[in-house]
Symmetry: C2
Subunit: 210 residues, 2 copies
DNA sequence: GCCTGTGAATCCATTCACAGCT
DNA sequence: AGCTGTGAATGGATTCACAGGC
């Protein structure tokens, strides 16, 4: 069913489609054509159909897609239909923003541990009830709490060091916010979110306009 | 000098190269080969050279690139060698994280106004000395403070409305964090940063590993 | 000898256009 | 008649491989 190589961009778009489908279920829309959904997601209809075609046939010719059904399918593809356990390292403003992100909560992404090296913060209780732990406990808590993913929200200068600790603890998926490439073994997935690069991108385009 | 169509990914990589070059200047590295710099940025050497080739010839054959010189060139290309004036809308955890981001400060991106619709927050003074203003003042302050870019850090449900206000005020570059496409006129540049989509991407890859 | 700059070749993603199903 | 699913065609971006200059 799943072909060998799925473009990374396809996966990103699937995640985006699922956001829109969620909104559509809230609107009680039951059926949607590739044309309409693509329009909402700002991609071409052919692109949307091709993205789905990597994984199978989910529509009805002459009709369209069942919104709820398609959402289920995409969630199964992305494996977001299960609960995932994550930890976060670095409880500054960014860390808190992530901990309180409603979209995370809504979808079974459970923060089960929070780490920070600042002695002032260690031992404090977060609104969710979690207690901030020191980084040296990463390995132990990863085992006992069965943590599967780590989010690094520390300053860039600590990012690689923290990543090494997470990997050493057995974590195989890392999301980070530092504007640098983090080195990991091949069997550890890494994604980065980089504000500053996006902002510079924007400046480049802005400078061309004005 | 600049060819017609520069790939967007090239621009993103240039921004990334500039980060690494900054670090290299701090290390007092003066000359670097495309091979070495590419290695640090996790791209191929050919890619790096091709990216630069869109804009001119900046290296010395048989030698490499002058780090400081190349950094200057890239900053000129990206237009990050000037000061830019930005405002931020939505002063929650994310907004605060952005306001305090050292990388922003370091590079002449000046936050000159902060808006939030929460009456509790309006009138409060931020650590930087800025006072939080109500959104209805966006248009006026954009004019008087000559704001060029807007960052939207509100909940997704307010993002389009805020974008409309920024556009109406004459702002032509918007960075936002909502997992949806914001509609803008063609002459307004938009970039989005989407945690949740990145996280789902990661989950997809993680699920394949385990 | 070494490393850049670049046309040519390759690879990959997107779009086209229509066959196939309801 | 309408809309999906998909091979074929197109269009871009990346890599190759080497000519050109230090």
């Amino acid at each position: 069913m799943v072909k060998n190589k799925i473009p990374d961009l396809t996966i990103e778009r699937l995640a985006f489609y699922s956001r829109r489908l969620e909104m559509l279920t809230e609107n009680r829309t039951h059926i949607i054509s590739s044309e309409k959904l693509a329009e909402l997601c700002d991609v071409s209809a052919a692109q949307l159909r091709k993205d789905l075609a990597y994984f199978g046939e989910f529509g009805v010719r002459g009709v369209g897609y069942d919104v709820e059904e398609l959402l289920k399918v995409i969630r199964r593809i992305l494996a977001t239909d299960r609960d995932w356990r994550l930890c976060i390292v670095g409880i500054g403003n960014l860390g808190n923003a992530l901990l309180e992100n409603e979209n995370f909560k809504k979808r079974g992404y459970n923060f089960v541990a929070a780490f920070d090296k600042d002695p002032e913060k260690i031992g404090k209780t977060l609104p969710s009830g979690m207690v901030i732990e020191p980084p040296r406990k990463i390995k132990e808590l990863t085992k006992t709490l069965r943590i599967q993913m780590g989010i690094i929200a520390t300053p860039a200068s600590d990012a690689q060091r923290v990543a090494n600790m997470l990997i050493d603890a057995g974590i195989r998926a890392i999301l980070h916010f530092a504007p640098l490439k983090i080195r990991t073994p091949k069997d550890c997935a890494v994604e980065s979110v980089d504000f500053t690069v996006k902002l510079e991108n924007l400046i480049y385009h802005l400078a061309k306009i004005i």
